[in-house]
Every structure is written in C-alpha cells, then in structure tokens.
Amino acid sequence: MAALEQQPLLTDGHRRDGRAYEEFRNVFLKTGVISQASGSAYAEFNNTKVMVGVYGPRQSERKVGYSEQGRISVDVKLATFATRQRGMFGQTPEERELSALLATALEAATNLASFPKATADVYVLVLEAGGGELGVAATAAALALADAGIEMFDLVTACSVSRAEGALLLDPTVDEAAREEAGLTLALMPACSEVTQLVSRGPWTSSALREAMELAMGGCAQLDALARQVLKTAAAEAAARRQQEQQQLQQAQ
C-alpha cells in the first residue's frame, strides 16, 4: 500500500487508470430506476455509483414557513460501505454539506414557481464513493428531476477538476483528489452556459482557475450531450411501450 501511495499519479501523459488528463471515466447514466419514485436516475462513473430518487412535488414533511415558491429538499447519504473505512448510518456533517451544495446547484435550474407551496424531495444515495460524488450526484439529480416531469429551465451537469503534479485533471478519482494541490467542482446549465455552482478547494492563481473552469465547462457540455441522449431514449421507449399497449388493447377489443 505504502508503495502505491508514493508512486506518481501521472506517467508520460497518462493517469494511473490509463486515462488522458482531460478524459472522463466510463460514464453510464440511466433514468427510471426506482419504480416507486416520481423520477429517478442512476449514474456510474467507474467506481462512483450514485442513485437518486425524486418524490413530489408534495407537501413538506417538515414544518417550514409559507412560501409562494416551491422548494427543493435534498438529502444525501453515503452507504456505510461506500468508502474504504466503514461509515455510519446517521448523517455526517460532510453529507449535510453535500446536501446543501447540491440543493443550490439544482435550485437555479428548476422552475420553482411551477409548484408553489410544495416540496420536491431529492434523495441521493451514494452506493460507492470513488471520487467526484458532488458532480455525479448533481448530474444524476437533474436527470431524476427531469424524469419526474418537474419543469426545469435547463439540465444541470457537473464535474470536478483537480490540479495535481502540475497538471489539470478532469473527473478525478478518489486517489487523485486526495493528492490534489487544488480542485474545483462546477455545475453548469449547459444550454444557457450559466454556472449554478462553483466550489473550489485549495489555492488557485486566477489564470489557473480560469483554465480549470474552462476545462470543467467543457466536461459539463460533454456530459450534457450524454444526459440528453439518455432522456431522449427513455422518452422514445416510453412512447413505444404506450403504443404497443394501445395496439394490444385494440386487438383485445
């Protein structure tokens, strides 16, 4: 183990997992994974696996003050076995922070006026934390909101960039993020090019930060193309299913 920790992250232009610096892990997105939910999505970036269920808009469980606008309530949990060290069942401060960050990333993209006084509950469960959970969760949560049929101004996609060993790395793994000198996570509404969230860690020079942001925005645009494809495929499948059912019904009659 100690030997691996001392080895460099980067060797002749490649990372430990064989990726180029500006390459994503293998991305898999899917909607409609939870039968009980209004909308749901599953996202897998190699070893980062996140599941999101959206319920509502519905009456809020907690007592919150009157609001003309709708609310988004986000709850993020890591499964106890998601990390190398076993976690606990209760919510940790880190998970609460993740929840708050995710809420701000999604709120800007959601038409809150379309469900006044009601709450859309966004429940996130991280099944395995392989790095970049915030970005993966935001991408999956936006897909789940769209799957739930909640009005949105745009999808949200998000990804992280780490600066390590003098290079900017897109979509860092947990090992890379642990050894980063600085890092950022950026959430973007890709169609209107508006950033809904930017979290940076560590020291950045302004020029390096700009470069990293550009890289992250490019990454978000890539994810967006994929996310839209997933939504289109799901819609086409649903339409085909409906048509088939209607045909069967007509035949029966």
């Binding site: 939870i34 939910a37 749901s40 499964a79 069942f89």
Partner: protein
C-alpha cells in the same frame, strides 16, 4: 367519477388509482395479477455479485422492481471479554429514503427495524460466530452486513434475505497475520508476512470462505379474498387481508414463519405457504449457485 367508472368511461390507469381494490379483484378473479403473473408465481429475480468494490462482498438483488443491495465489510476488532472465542456478525437493514414515497430521512423506519431484527436472528443462526475468531481472547472479525433497500416494491424480506445470503456466500475473509508486537495485518500484506514467517509458529490465518450452516430462502405470500398471492408487490400489499413470510432451508426445515394482518391465517394457508416457499427456495438456490459459479466464487468441493 364513480358513475363514469361504472359506465366504463375511465381509462385503466385512472380506475387503478381510484379503485385499487376493484382493480385487483378483477384480475384475481381471472386467476391473474395486474403485472400479468399467475397467482402463485414470484417475479423475475436476478442476483448480481460484487457490485460495490469498496466492500469485501456485495450483492444486488432484484425481485421484479424490488431492489436490495447488501454490502459486507469485515474489520478486525478486539475480542469481547464475554465471548473471547467468537467474532461478531452485525446485520442492519436500511430503507433508504429514495426507496418509497413513505420513507423519509432521519430515524430508521419501523419496517426497517423489524427487518433488521428478523434478519439478525436468522443470519445469526446460519453463521457460527466462533469461526470469526482470529486469536482467542485477543482479536476477532466483526462482519458487518448492511442491506439497503433501493426500491421498495413489496416482499422486502425475501429480497433482503437473498441479498444478504448471496453476499455472505461470496465472502472471503482476508488473510490475517499477527506479529510479535501484536500488530495485525490483513490482505496481501498479511499473506506476505506469513511467507516470511515460514517455520515459525504461524500466527494468523489464510484467506478463507465463511461457512454457512444452511441456505435460508424466504417467500412472502398474501391472502386476498381467499386466494394466495405469492410475492406481492407494493401495490397489492395494502389490499391483502393477511400476509405471511415463510423461511426454509434447503432440507425443507422451517427456520421462520411470520404472519399478520386483519384476517386469521388458517392451517391450510400455512401449509400452502410453506409448500410455495419450498418450491421458490429451490429455484432461488439454483439461481444463486449459478451466480456464484459465474463469479468464480462457488463453494469448493470441501464445503459441499
């Protein structure tokens, strides 16, 4: 709306939401279920092993839409003074807030607590805790089996038990070594340390599989208007008059039977339920065996 329904003017989906009981009754009278199954059939089932790489063993089980993910993590812990020659098996069922419209974040739901108690008792009798001892009176394995319900579409006990059983069946306890100063190493480092210590008294253990005394499989059945529905969905469950879960091992011995509801469960129903559970057990064990073989984790000849 009721008049419209009586006149057959609402579409099937509206009728389903407004009159769930009538909707189900119309199917059951024809000997079918809303999802197209016969009354006594369980839903299509799949077992995926090793879904989560941060665990020592994991299994994702789907029974229809009901989804349970079990992850096993093993830790070396000091042995308890009251049980110096045994380790610990800790089972916990968590209904993740995303699994259904009624589960909310915060304290564990009643359903999850009941499942935790039932599965703890059951798996505690299947895994002899003494095999988890590493060095008597000093260190032992704590095996944490955490089961997350990801989609609660009925008959959760069956899916959770199968996920736990599949994960435990594929579990390999890592090699352990203990040096003179009492430092404990596991995994590859332990195997290397044991190589070096050849000749000396071997402290620690090789990698090994967990011995399970039997393979418990359960089936939930519901009583609806005098008929038995196997493996009910979340839509059917609230309409049932009574519900029973039977757990049997491969020899047909009953390891657990839990029934409840508004109607009394007669002897005939109990017998039917046990019979159905026995059949289901055979089917599920074959599936598990196949999944283990595919993953190259099937029980070795010495274990069978």
């Amino acid at each position: 709306m009721a008049a419209a329904a009586a006149a057959g003017q609402v579409d099937a989906d509206t009728f389903r939401r407004l009159y769930p009981d009538d909707y189900l009754r119309k199917f059951v009278e024809q000997g079918l279920r809303p999802d197209g199954r016969p009354l006594a059939a369980a839903r299509p089932t799949s077992i995926g092993l090793g879904a989560v790489s941060t665990t020592d063993a994991s299994a994702l089980v789907k029974v229809g839409s009901t989804t349970a993910l079990a992850g096993v993590k093993c830790e070396v812990v000091p042995a308890l003074p009251e049980a110096p020659d045994a380790g610990r098996l800790v089972v916990q069922v968590e209904m993740a807030p995303l699994c259904s419209a009624t589960t909310r974040p915060g304290r564990p739901s009643e359903g999850a607590q009941v499942l935790t108690e039932q599965l703890s008792a059951l798996l505690g009798s299947v895994v002899d805790a003494r095999q988890l001892c590493i060095d008597a009176g000093k260190v032992a394995w704590a095996v944490y089996v955490d089961i997350y319900v990801l989609d609660a579409d009925g008959s959760l006990h069956d899916a959770c038990l199968l996920a736990a059983l599949a994960a435990l069946s594929s579990l390999r306890l890592r090699a352990v070594s203990i040096d003179e100063s009492g430092r404990v190493q596991t995994g590859a480092a332990a195997a290397a340390a044991q190589q070096q210590q050849q000749g000396e008294r071997p402290a620690g253990q090789q990698e090994r599989r967990l011995a399970l005394s039997c393979q418990p499989v359960s089936l939930t059945c519901g009583l609806y208007r005098g008929r038995l529905l196997a493996d009910p969905t979340a839509e059917e469950e609230p309409l049932l008059e009574a519900q029973a879960t039977a757990t049997l091992d491969e020899s047909g011995a009953v390891l657990g039977f839990a029934a409840g509801g508004t109607a009394a469960v007669g002897q005939i129903v109990v017998v039917q339920c046990l019979e159905a559970a026995k059949m289901r057990g055979k089917e599920v064990r074959a599936m598990l065996q196949q999944a283990l073989e595919q993953a190259g984790l099937a029980a070795d000849a010495d274990a069978s």
